[in-house]
């Protein structure tokens, strides 16, 4: 190392944005299009799905046949760089905590591979405390966010249907794709036992947008790899690419933010970062600083930005930064549908993800858990990848194959017949629910550990309460009922019980972490005001999942986008008025 110095960039930007996922991408898009000069800092390398996606690769083109690796925990073709474990960037756990922290390092962040499940929060989702006394209400309501949901529906594109549901609001939807065969089975079975199944709401272009002919879906079902044709929403392709085209954005990749810089008045002046390319230290300066590094990375950055003015980290006079960390709940189950054995073959790819889903349908007042969940479905003719029909010895002795009872296991031509026979008969379902954000579930700076850049790392202290465990129990009972109703047989996830919290995944595992930099009207109990602006530091904003007070049972990306757009438009106005 020896000889290094801090290189200060002379340029004064209107805004420095840290992170290029949904929140940072939207901020860059809005501010750049308003003519502001932006510096966008991303911790990973550049990424353009058109050039860098593994879309249309066949399984044999991966030597590991699509198996996961530490570089790609969701499989070798997945569109996200890194995940649970990044070399040289540890995090630690307190006590019995088993937090799982997904970190993307690439332009566009995890939006390059996400499920595109784009659910608006409903009116009740902003007012949880008023309804059941738990958690806190947001300082804003659905009516404040609705105009931004409306705008992003039309800007980015989303399919779905207007169902007039009270807490799953209508939107501006493209037509949904028709259900696949197993989805028709699910729909019939669930509807028969009073569980609604409606078209899913995914940000995928089943039709081209009226004002944008550059993006196109070709129904290959591979949204998780990121789309070369920009037919779905990734921040890299849909927001950052056009933002860069304005000429107003300087993009710095492979730049790991170290701290928010401040002046004597306590205002943010810029960001210091270490470049992973040359391991040199840099500083960039701007009139505003917008954090969008992900809920936990933004909290980490703020907690690490200490100064005499901010001894507990920038904008942390409340001590709330890092607290109220929560993820979606998740539990899953799968089975096979004997009626679908020996199916006729055809191309069933459809869009990347489910064509139907179940929104929350019950009244929590009559249940032993306070918040709801939705159900996601999978199945059908997936591309054969590593793990294809793994464990057939548990299947081929249990069911007759072509009317013949076989011995479990086996080999040879008879085994090859079995693989063909069972292909396409599997079905799976996953509950994704709302947990309660709690003060005693948090992340903090580990006093003893730094990453390879010398940046102090996060230590997690999180747990589930009975509310989430009871909810997982209910999920499992529901899944069994649906599978039974469709004549399916449970093959996995059926043995969970009190011994393992009913299969409730570890917190963090669903990758919807939020709440660490929450907004609120009371500066003593929140970090940001209702404009995603720090109470203690008026030119510092946080536009990622950190700002969430609670996260409903709705995947949070669409709300991150709406809130980031809302905050960014507010920043443009305030800069014009010279308030920042």
């Amino acid at each position: 190392m020896g000889d290094f110095q801090i290189k200060k960039q002379p340029k004064q930007y209107d805004a420095i944005i840290v992170g290029s996922g949904a929140g940072g991408g939207m901020a860059a898009y809005v501010l750049a299009n308003a003519g502001l000069k932006i510096c966008l800092i991303e911790a990973g390398p550049n990424f353009d799905p058109a050039k860098n996606s593994a879309q249309f690769k066949n399984p044999w083109e991966s030597p590991r046949r699509g198996a996961s690796s530490k570089f790609r925990p969701f499989g070798d073709f997945d569109g996200c760089y890194w995940g649970w474990d990044i070399e040289g960037e540890p995090y630690t756990q307190s006590g019995t905590t088993k937090w799982e922290w997904w970190r993307a390092r690439m332009l566009g962040g995890r939006t390059n591979h996400w499920g595109r499940i784009s659910l608006r929060f409903g009116p009740k989702d902003f007012k949880g405390k008023s309804i059941d006394g738990l958690g806190d209400d947001w300082p804003i309501g659905y009516e404040d966010v609705k105009p931004y949901y409306d705008k992003i529906d039309q800007l980015i594109g989303i399919f779905g249907t207007n169902e007039g549901l009270p807490n799953d609001p209508d939107g501006f939807f493209l037509p949904p794709p028709k259900p696949r065969l197993h989805e028709l089975f699910i729909k019939r079975a669930a509807t028969n036992i009073g569980i609604p199944v409606i078209p899913s709401r995914l940000s995928i272009l089943t039709k081209q947008l009226p004002n944008n002919k550059d993006r196109n879906c070709v129904f290959c079902g591979q949204c998780g790899r990121s789309c070369k044709l920009y037919g779905d929403f990734s921040s890299s392709s849909v927001l950052i690419k056009p933002a860069l085209a304005t000429g107003n954005v300087d993009l710095i990749t492979n730049a790991m933010a170290r701290e928010v810089l401040t002046n004597r008045d306590g205002l943010a002046t810029g960001i210091s970062y270490v470049s992973k390319d040359d391991m040199q230290e840099y500083q960039v300066f701007g009139k505003t600083v917008i954090l969008a590094a992900s809920a936990c990375e933004s909290a980490r950055l703020m907690l690490n930005s200490k100064s005499p003015r901010y001894p507990n980290g920038i904008a942390n006079s409340s001590g709330v930064i890092g607290k109220y960390l929560h993820d979606s709940t998740g539990a899953d189950m799968g089975g096979i549908i004997p009626e679908l054995f020996d199916r006729k073959r055809y191309n069933e790819d459809g869009v990347g993800g489910m064509h139907v889903y179940t929104p929350w349908w019950l009244d929590n007042k009559k249940l032993d858990f306070p918040r709801g969940y939705h159900i996601e479905y999978g199945g059908g003719f997936g591309m054969p990848l590593y793990g294809f029909q793994w464990g057939i010895e548990k299947l081929n002795g249990t069911y007759k194959v072509k009317d013949k009872q076989k011995e479990a296991g086996g080999y040879g031509a008879s085994l090859k017949e079995d693989y063909r026979y069972f292909f396409g008969s599997h079905v799976g379902m996953a509950g994704r629910g709302e947990g309660i954000a709690r003060e005693d579930s948090y992340c903090e700076i580990d006093p003893n550990v730094v990453d390879k850049y010398g940046i102090p790392v996060l230590r997690f202290h999180t747990s589930w309460s009975d509310y989430e465990i009871n909810q997982a129990k209910h999920m499992k009972e529901t899944f069994k009922q649906i599978l039974h109703s469709m004549g399916a047989v449970v093959t996995w996830g059926g043995d969970d019980g009190p011994h393992n919290n009913y299969g409730l995944h570890n917190p963090g595992n669903i990758i919807h972490e939020a709440g660490t930099v929450r907004m609120g009207n009371d500066p003593k109990r929140s970090v940001l005001n209702k404009w995603s602006q720090a109470h203690d530091c008026k030119n510092l904003f946080c536009v990622d999942g950190g700002q969430f007070v609670s996260q409903a049972d709705k995947n949070i990306t669409w709300t991150i986008l709406a809130l980031a757009m809302r905050a960014s438009e507010h920043i443009v106005d305030e800069l014009k008025k010279q308030n920042l």
């Binding site: 030597p63 570089f71 070399e87 037509p175 794709p177 073959r345 054969p384 296991g409 080999y411 063909r420």
Partner: protein
């Protein structure tokens, strides 16, 4: 001699195996370069992945005897039939060599399982598995291929054969031959127009008026 041919030679007979083993040792370096696996180091990969890939393919895990045994077993599990080729036609041995280096938790069960199999064969037939006659090979495979009826003392062999069956089948059905065999028809630009009419009819299903009205449809011509 490349590995594919050397394995074939090993399969033909044991007489000249010492010579072949020597030949294979000399060609170890070339073996890695001549793998049937597709290199995956293009614009889709990040730098760290390409470095990892180079490291993995530069190392060997299985020796030639083990590789030959794997090939025999794999072709017993997935032989050529009326529909498609065999595991070795699909390059399954190369896949298994790669995947145990990439997922090291497979290494001990595979190495130990192969050794367990050879020891059983030495006791029964005074030969290692690969040098046994086809009839003898099937005799021992039948002892470990059927988990529910296998004898208790064969349980370790059953566990090994389950793993071997899974790895062989995963390698085969993710190959070009295997994907065609199992009839996966996707991974190509197209338009999703719903379940084909004859399939709907087969299962007594139909799309509702609401679905037909609200869902995207494409001209079927």
């Amino acid at each position: 001699m490349d590995r594919r041919r050397s394995i074939k030679a090993l399969l033909i007979g044991g007489a000249a195996s010492a010579v072949f083993i020597e030949a294979c040792k000399n060609s170890d370096k070339r073996v890695t370069e001549e793998t049937t696996l597709t290199k995956f180091t293009g614009a889709e990969r990040m730098q760290e992945e390409n470095e990892h890939y180079k490291k993995v393919v530069a190392e060997h895990f299985f020796d030639q005897h083990e590789l030959a045994t794997i090939t025999v077993l794999a072709d017993i599990i997935i032989p050529r039939d009326a529909v498609s080729g065999s595991a070795s036609d699909a390059g399954v041995t190369d896949f298994i060599e790669f995947i145990v280096k990439d997922i090291p938790s497979h290494q001990t069960p595979m190495r130990g399982g192969l050794r367990w199999l050879d020891l059983q064969c030495l006791k029964l037939f005074e030969k290692t598995f690969k040098d046994c006659s086809n009839k003898q090979q099937i005799e021992i495979v039948d002892e470990i291929a059927y988990p529910k009826k296998a004898k208790p003392e064969m349980q370790q062999g059953v566990a090994f054969f389950n793993l071997m069956r899974n790895l062989t089948s995963t390698g085969f059905y993710t190959s070009e031959i295997g994907v065609k065999d199992v009839g996966y028809m996707g991974n190509t630009p197209n338009q999703w127009n719903g379940v084909p009419d004859d399939v709907l009819k087969q299962y007594g299903l139909s799309y509702s008026e609401k679905e037909l009205k609200e869902c995207v449809s494409f001209d079927k011509t």
